[in-house]
Point group: C2
Chain length 142, copies 2
DNA sequence: TTGAAATAATTGACATATCAATTAAAAATT
DNA sequence: AATTTTTAATTGATATGTCAATTATTTCAA
């Protein structure tokens, strides 16, 4: 068991890295010029149109600094625009452009394929157990 | 989002990030000037004294480039030394210094505490299931 | 045996992670 | 109202991740 305690973190790390590499490779091979993290940020803004960068950082579990930089890159790539929030000039309103909406739509199918490929052959019950274990770890580390 | 929390990959990512942050914070608060990744690299060299950087990168799931840079930092920190392997001049022999051995020894207790804190309240059976699920994901993404 | 292919490590470029410090604005307190 | 505190976002510094290109060396094959 002491061994598993050691190995479990090793496997959590390994699995998420392999999944990200696989997912990123799929995007690249289909000609999409976007990273997994950038995709997630746009997706969250589309689903929460009034979200601030700080709220975004909590939602995707990234540092404020990372979000600032990802948003910058997305603006450079013309997937996003930002505008000072007149209600609170510390905040920004983030707008997804047409081109940003399009890429999310076009990438969606690949994302679903990636997930089902990665989870193939895993029983729903076991997946639920694994998910509960991960949530417990999350709670324990907070 | 299709309920972020319901997506296993989100929770895998979240859990490993929180665990790493927690573990890193513990190291910092106990005055150890070393990162989790650096700790892992030294530990692997101690356990595999003839390992090459390339083999190391496979063992810790990192890119060759990352390993090169981590090793560089560890040499700067005087935890490691390297020497060209006379058998094959493309390779290096990596030596852990006394100071490197010491820090691993001293950090060990904290690592164990971190793990047990993160896994507190999780049934052994569930942990095994979670581990099997992660291994399956790893296999699927290869 | 020599030229081609494979391997080990490095480097450059760029993206992301983390912490600390800073700026600007809003909210709370006195 | 003026001062203090809090909040949102940015920036700088450093570490790591990833890919592609490069160098040095070894191995393989014609």
């Amino acid at each position: 068991m002491e061994k598993l305690n050691n190995i479990i973190f090793y496997n959590i790390d390994h699995s998420i890295r392999l999944y990200r590499m696989y997912a990123q490779k799929q995007l690249r091979e289909h000609g999409f010029k976007i990273t997994i993290d950038q995709w997630l940020v746009i997706k969250c803004i589309l689903e929460n149109p009034t979200i601030t960068q700080h709220e975004l950082s909590e939602l995707v579990f990234k540092d404020n600094a990372s979000v600032t930089r990802i948003v910058d890159l997305l603006i450079k790539a013309k997937y996003l625009e930002k505008e000072i929030n007149p209600e609170d000039r510390r905040k920004f309103i983030l707008h997804v452009t047409k081109s940003g909406e399009d890429i999310i739509k076009n990438v969606q199918e690949i994302v679903l394929q990636n997930r089902s490929k990665a989870l193939k052959g895993i029983a729903a019950k076991d997946l639920e157990t694994a998910d509960a274990v991960l949530q417990k770890i999350i709670a324990n580390c907070k």
